[in-house]
């Protein structure tokens, strides 16, 4: 069991509109293992298939070739077992549900009792530092607050795997940096495994244990960069090791660009 990967992607390819004139090879020959508790970012130029890879891991798309397994089972089984928490760039909160009810939605779908749901949503609101907003509607909150609720919802049922697709892409720079610190704190507290799609070099460097650089058309793994920043704080952003990591990622992305 100790050798079981959180995510195991083997020889995966994805072709959209196969056999039609607008056929697109999105991904080809992807091999990637992610260990339990790891924080892995996917980065690459647009069209490199990073969101597609995330959706293949989450069984929202089916691979055209190869296999994806999650905690030793098929991605489909993992989805049926509700092992995934998902956060998108668009917070995707339901307007008609109050903030607490949004966080409780996945719990409702698992038939949790009302009392248990209320207790968990309160706990989650504390975790994302919005203890007083359970009774508000999402539209009454700022973009950054909505995204925190979205993270609270994704974590409410303690998913084994958290899939995030540019979750902070629509936020301003300062809110984004605060959210990164928040996310790392929550990640440490919950011990969940995170796959994080981003197009921001500093974001990938700051958050990840490993950064997977993808090249486009079709998407392939160009290189994998290890990050050794230790415990992150706001000061980490001014740390030479942080800059050298960002530089490594940038150079990899430049190499990807030059190869096109």
């Amino acid at each position: 069991m100790s050798s079981e990967h959180a995510v195991s992607v083997t020889e995966v390819g994805k072709v959209f509109n196969e056999g039609s004139v607008d056929e697109v090879a999105a991904l080809s020959g992807i091999d990637l293992n992610i260990e339990p508790g790891e924080f892995v970012s996917l980065i690459g130029p647009s069209g490199c298939g990073k969101s597609t890879l995330l959706r293949l891991i989450g069984d929202l798309l089916e691979p055209s070739a190869g296999a994806v397994s999650v905690f030793g089972k098929s991605a489909h089984q993992a989805r049926m077992d509700q092992n995934y928490g998902m956060v998108f760039q668009h917070a995707g909160l339901f307007d008609w549900r109050k903030v607490a009810a949004n966080i409780e939605l996945p719990l409702e779908l698992r038939d949790w009792s009302k009392a248990d749901r209320a207790a968990r949503s309160k706990e989650m609101l504390d975790l994302v530092k919005l203890p007083d907003f359970g009774n508000h509607y999402p539209r009454q909150l700022s973009g950054g607050m909505q995204q925190r609720v979205s993270i609270a919802r994704a974590l409410s049922f303690k998913p084994k795997l958290l899939l995030m697709d540019e979750p902070f892409g629509a936020l301003d720079e300062m809110t984004r940096e605060h959210m990164q610190i928040e996310l790392l704190r929550i990640w440490e507290e919950t011990g969940t495994t995170v796959v994080f799609v981003t197009h921001s070099i500093p974001e990938a460097a700051f958050l990840s244990n490993r950064v997977v650089v993808l090249s486009p058309r079709p998407g392939r793994v160009h290189s994998i960069i290890e990050v050794n920043l230790g415990q992150r704080t706001e000061d980490t952003r001014e740390n030479p090791e942080f800059f050298s990591t960002a530089t490594k990622i940038r150079e990899a992305l430049r190499a990807v660009e030059a190869a096109q």
Partner: protein, 266 residues
């Protein structure tokens, strides 16, 4: 409460002022009553002819209301059906568009021939046909126009299509439906009255208007119009009430947020 009253004042003042201006203009310019009766004369006829008018209002009102309810039901049911069966949608939507492009009230004489001129069905059919289309198109739009992320999120929870319908599509469609209802509620009264212009029993608002106008009793005709617009207004108010009750989140106002910044060690 205070703000509710302050919101009521301007339209109330405008309404009363408008009526006074109307009354005054007729007196000052000596406009003949058969061209435009004074509000006070209309008001007097409203009382004098109340037994006839209230009965006509009831007759037309129940045709409009029942047609409204049936048309709304038909529109909602068809919206669900087309959402469930996409191929049916491709066949039905162009047909519904074609039906909508037909001036429905022009069909009133034909409906009279089909369903009989003495009963309520032919006029009801006109109301149903007018109400149905906006409700169908808007509700169907609300059921389908869901953000793709929201569907992916539900699928990541292993939700069935039925759960997605209940948790996402239906609440998403509610504001669309409420908008349509606000449009068609007063439209149902208009459709019923126009349909009545093409004949039928004499005890309905449309016929009271035409027969009194034919005898130059314009003040009575105007009083009948007052009854009809009061009913249309009541239906509109009902639709607004349904909208507020069914979509409370749309009334929620943005709160002023202080202490927005998370983070630690500050």
């Amino acid at each position: 409460m205070r703000s509710r009253w302050s919101a009521l004042w301007p339209p109330l003042l405008t309404g009363v002022g408008g009526l006074l201006l109307w009354e005054g203009m007729i007196i000052v310019f000596g406009i003949r009553e058969f061209l435009l009766p004074k509000p006070s004369s209309i008001w007097a006829e409203l009382f004098a002819e109340w037994p006839v008018l209230s009965h006509a209002g009831w007759e037309t009102g129940r045709i409009a209301f029942s047609g409204l309810v049936l048309g709304v039901l038909a529109g909602v049911v068809l919206a669900f059906v087309t959402n469930r069966f996409r191929s049916l949608n491709e066949g039905l939507t162009p047909l519904a568009v074609a039906v909508n492009a037909t001036p429905i009230v022009a069909l009133a004489p034909i409906f009279n021939a089909w369903f009989g001129i003495t009963g309520v069905v032919s006029n009801q059919a006109v109301v149903i046909a007018v109400v149905f289309f906006p409700v169908f198109i808007n509700t169907a739009k609300g059921l389908t126009e869901v953000h793709p992320d929201e569907i992916e999120l539900m699928r990541s929870y292993a939700s069935s299509e039925w759960t997605i319908l209940r948790e996402v599509r239906v609440p998403n469609a509610l504001p669309f439906f409420a908008n349509a209802l606000r449009v068609v509620a007063p439209l149902s009264v208009i459709a019923a009255i126009v349909a009545e212009y093409f004949g039928g029993p004499q005890d309905r608002i449309g016929n009271v208007i035409t027969s009194n106008a034919a005898f130059a009793r314009y003040d009575v005709a105007w009083a009948a119009i007052v009854v009809a617009s009061a009913f249309g207004l009541a239906l509109f108010a009902g639709a607004v009430l349904i909208e507020r009750l069914s979509t409370p989140w749309r009334m929620a106002t943005q709160v002023e947020i202080t202490n927005n910044k998370p983070g630690r060690g500050k």
